[in-house]
Symmetry: C2
Subunit: 304 residues, 2 copies
């Protein structure tokens, strides 16, 4: 299917809700797409701090406005559709329990995130609150910047990422760069994505991606030496995604990657009671932020 390039972000979200589309790459160009991370409200302050302390790997584009409510995001400019629903407007979801992915490729979260509550659910919630679990099963959602945004800028500059040309999934690696801890989120490390570029193009690649601070920004490292510096096990065998070919004179260029927050959830493991939801990789939430908003987003979403 050819992607109609004229789709607004609202129209793409509607297609996602109807499960008409899967991978959102190329949809609604000029808008920012988001990684999604939804967790029980009682962990939201720690997770928020984690994002603020690690803004290159976990740049915030928005946070759900009230615990339990799937319809509203702060700042309101991030998502402007009045009928928005966090539980349906991503094409595919994942469910995590105790840090492990227990369900993938889920079409919506309506069964696991009831809202508004039924009378039974309300009673259960009340009992939980009486038992000292103040938050019950109220969820808070975090929308985190995604590299799809800067990839179209690279494409426009004739520096199309290799995986676009070969129709593969970008190579991603675990590194030893620590994710600076926040509350229960300890012992995490950064995940990086890798795109091969010629050494002489690196400064231009850095310049082009630099303004995209809210979607990982410029590379975190580059060159063959960086493989060892980042503690990457084997460049030929990525931890996620697919191996990429290098042409003569090309070196690996590494960016922080939006898979990092999911890995932070895995690292937290048993410390998280209850369910955590995320988007299925590549199946992003398309926001109403536009590339033109990037300059102001640099200062953080609190500024809107």
């Amino acid at each position: 299917m050819t992607i109609p390039s004229t789709l607004t972000s609202q129209q793409t979200r509607l297609l996602a809700r109807q499960n008409t589309i899967t991978n959102t790459a190329g949809y609604s160009p000029g808008t920012l797409q988001a990684n999604l991370l939804i967790l029980p409200h009682k962990y939201s302050e720690d997770f928020h701090n984690l994002c603020l302390r690690n803004p290159v790997a976990c740049p915030l584009l928005g946070i759900s406005s009230a615990p339990g409510n799937p319809h509203q995001i702060t700042p309101s400019r991030c998502i402007q559709s009045p009928d928005f629903d966090l539980r349906t407007d991503c094409p595919r979801y994942r469910v995590y329990k105790h840090g492990k992915c227990v369900e993938a490729n889920k079409r919506d979260l309506l069964d696991v995130w009831p809202y508004p509550f039924t009378p039974q659910k309300q009673l259960q919630q009340q009992q939980e609150e009486e038992a000292g679990n103040k938050d019950g099963e109220q969820y808070t959602a975090f929308l985190i910047g995604c590299s799809f945004s800067f990839e179209s800028a690279l494409h426009d500059a004739n520096l199309t990422p290799r995986h676009h040309l070969t129709s593969t999934i970008v190579a991603m690696y675990r590194t030893t760069i620590p994710l600076l801890p926040a509350g229960i989120f300890t012992n995490g490390t950064c995940i990086v994505s890798m795109r091969p570029y010629r050494e002489e193009d690196i400064e231009r690649v850095r310049e082009i991606t630099r303004p995209y601070l809210a979607t990982h920004g410029e590379p975190v490292d580059w060159g063959w030496d960086a493989v060892k510096r980042l503690g990457i096990r084997d460049i030929e065998d990525p931890d996620f995604g697919e191996r990429q070919d290098f042409e003569p004179g090309e070196v690996p260029v590494f960016w922080a990657c939006g898979v990092t927050p999911q890995m932070a959830i895995e690292a937290a493991g048993e410390k998280i009671e209850g369910l955590v939801f995320a988007h299925e990789p590549g199946h992003m939430l398309v926001t109403d932020w536009r590339v033109e908003d990037l300059e102001r987003l640099k200062g953080g979403v609190g500024c809107f």
Copy 2:
């Protein structure tokens, strides 16, 4: 000399300007003290990005409002004295050239940062601009959070840092945690400060310092294992400051340290033409931010 605990931040700055005080530890309790980094305006965007990408090591409290002007800081709440002068209101300064400290313990910057310009200087500036060096010698200043602020909170909780009790300088170490690069600022690494605590006190120490996100926040790592994880050469031989004693049952607890930006300047080395100024370690700029502002400062100074 006993420190009068009733001094306002404005009064402390005045004492600093008069060179009546040196080390600012303990002055104007309840206010946030700042590390100072002043560099030629043409590098200010790169340095700003460096801070935004590494907010735990380089948390921004304010930036000078206009290139070359030493009198005004944005947000204006950061420094509210109408007669404020970046060149005099720190007790002591350092001068860097090509990444090396060429002068220490300097009382003011009036000779190296002329403002307003003399007619000769104006002519020289004009010639430089004609020669293509648009910014001439205009400086931009960055005010970066300092751990003095959370140390008084630890003291109030009966967790007084060891170096306060022994009247020594906190131990600081180079680590292998990369400072995520921005523009000319590449190959930097994080500096950490270390305070010994008993293992059973660590969660409380983390909780107390967690809200101080704008002044390095909670520890980046802790425990004897962390020494190796952080790539610290020798815990008994700090790279800056003084060796600290460990009592039985105590382990090292590490925080990101405000010396990091100065190390980033050293790492940039020859890439920086012109002079860079910083405060003399321990001789901080006392701001008008108060501990009560920390919650809002979390979202970044752009929010004020």
